[in-house]
Amino acid sequence: MAHAAESNYPTPAILQEVKPAVLPRATLVENNRSFGWVTDKICGIIEGKTPTWWWVCFVLAAMVASFTIAGLIYLVATGVGVWGHANPVNWAWDIVNFVFWIGIGHAGTLISAILCLLRQKWRTSINRAAEAMTIFAVVCAAIFPVFHVGRVWFAWYLFPIPSANSIWQNFRSPLEWDVFAVSTYGTVSVLFWYVGLIPDLAILRDRFTAAGNRLRGFLYGIFAMGWRGSNRHWSNYEMAYLILAGIATPLVLSVHTIVSFDFAVSLIPGWHTTIFPPYFVAGAIFSGFGMVLTLMLPLRAIYGLEDLITQYHIDCMCKITLATGTIVGYAYGMEFFIAWYGANPYEGFAFINRAFGQYAWAYWIMITCNVLTPQFFWFKSIRRNTALVWVLSIFVNVGMWFERFVIIVTSLARDFVPSSWGYYSPSVVEIFTFFGTFGVFSVLFLLFIRFLPVMPMAEIKAVMPQGDPHGHPASASGHGNHGAH
């Protein structure tokens, strides 16, 4: 109502004179598609016959996942010594992999929560898959610390559950904070994802029931909770979604902050720095967007979703990757500066050692992938080359894994006393276990794209011109007066 009144105001005379440029809003759904097209397109992915490529990928992914399962069985049966950790490097690939996977998850929450609060409407077509990615990444991340505890059947000691030992967890330790941060993150990510799924599950329930597939209609129906698109429900739903976005934002920032506390609260040179929390958060979002691009570009090509994931979406994702990658590059530089400026000989040595010591190869892989790779995204011609963007996104993933490796291993291998220096190499078991997590992740992601809507239909409809009750034509200007509501 209010906007109708606003648009009746006469145009100020000054605007007639200066004629400010009217910038068109980017179209979020191209080719002027209808609501029905969106529903059919996204439900069609689930309703159609299982494609052959899906089975091929699924079998391959399951085979890769078996490496993790075999590695873990071997570890439990033998002992945690089957991994390559030994004094002085007692944290190695397990924690590297844990931080790597947790970081990947962060882009999902960024897209679903932070971009929601910032009213970035382009998030709608990628948020569902990105949130799924978050959950599956947390699953992969959780494997490593849980099995690193050694006797995994005592992993419940991590939680304050009364036991016959009477003793409690040490809440003064950042590792215990991490237990709460990661488990909260996993839980809230699942809840957020599920709430977003409810209206879409209701569509699937009704479509499968109407098509005569009562079993699948029933199964989707259970999880749809009897959703019926009532506006009285949407009102509470929208509010709940906004609050979830509002709390998931500090959550995602706090999770990687607390992960960085695992290092920053210790006294090891190269870890004990205040730059860690923001630097870890930026790195997490950087790696997560790398993974979102890695996953979404093939999905877009296979399912012909170019009208929903437009070039504009790819541009936005590339630009965020560029921005966060540059922040990460700045953090690398700043670490060196502070190591010099702080005049602590141990700190100074740790950084010289990173760049020119025994692990220099890892350091320079990290610099190349994380600092140089995203700079290509300055160029429109590169952002428009989907295959190249995909390849660059893989470099980002590789680079961010090496970042965690460099941080964790170089600092431990060369700490204060030269007599305790060492060199760490991973064991075969450890390499296979990590390799397998890509299979675990892919299996889960393939199941997701087969059985659940890969895009939030209701949210996409809400940002389409047909969803606007004030009848603005597609991608016209004049949306500006909506901002305040």
Binding site: M1, W168, R172, L191, N231, E238, M239, I247, I258, G471
Partner: protein
């Protein structure tokens, strides 16, 4: 009374149509009625006269409960039930208790928000007259529906049908109770 339908349903094609129809139904004084839309329609709450959602109050309670739980849990375990000297640090301090309490605040708020949303919406409700209608498939896909319930004091089969026709509703049908 047994033959009384649950209500009347009318179909609208576009978001502006339902927006204006909702304003008309609201102004006609109906209380027990609803719009069925495939997506949240901007401003429809006000057009329907739906008041602001009360979910935030429940969320706030969840958040306060979560923070308190965190602080009390850490005080109880580390400073009261089994105090243990670790690194000469105090048994309890709100500083080191903060990260865990912060996470529990978020966790409890999330559960309260979602639980509150379900309770206020009366969900799960797997059987509902609206879900039995043939229109629901389109109402979640690309049409917009108005449902006026028979229990509304102003409901009158003919007058209400006339109102729905008047505001541009199509395919007006009775919903089985």
């Amino acid at each position: 009374m047994a033959a009384q339908p649950y209500g009347l349903v009318a179909v609208f094609d576009t978001a502006p149509d339902i927006y204006h129809a909702a304003e008309r139904v609201r102004d006609a004084g109906y209380k027990f009625w609803d719009c069925i839309t495939p997506c949240p329609v901007h401003g429809l709450d006000r057009a329907m006269g739906v008041r602001r959602s009360r979910v935030p109050r429940i969320s706030l309670m969840g958040g306060i409960l979560g923070f308190t739980t965190g602080m009390l849990l850490i005080y109880f375990t580390d400073a009261y039930d089994y105090p243990l000297i670790v690194g000469g640090k105090p048994f309890f301090s709100p500083m080191f208790a903060f990260p865990v309490s912060y996470e529990l605040t978020i966790l409890f708020t999330a559960f309260a928000t979602i639980g509150g949303m379900f309770i206020l919406n009366g969900l799960p409700m797997h059987y509902h007259p609206v879900l039995k209608s043939n229109h629901i498939l389109r109402g979640l896909d690309d049409k917009f529906l108005v449902v006026i319930e028979a229990r509304d004091p102003k409901f009158n089969l003919n007058a209400t049908r006339a109102l729905l026709e008047n505001i541009g509703g199509k395919e007006i049908t009775e919903l089985e109770a």
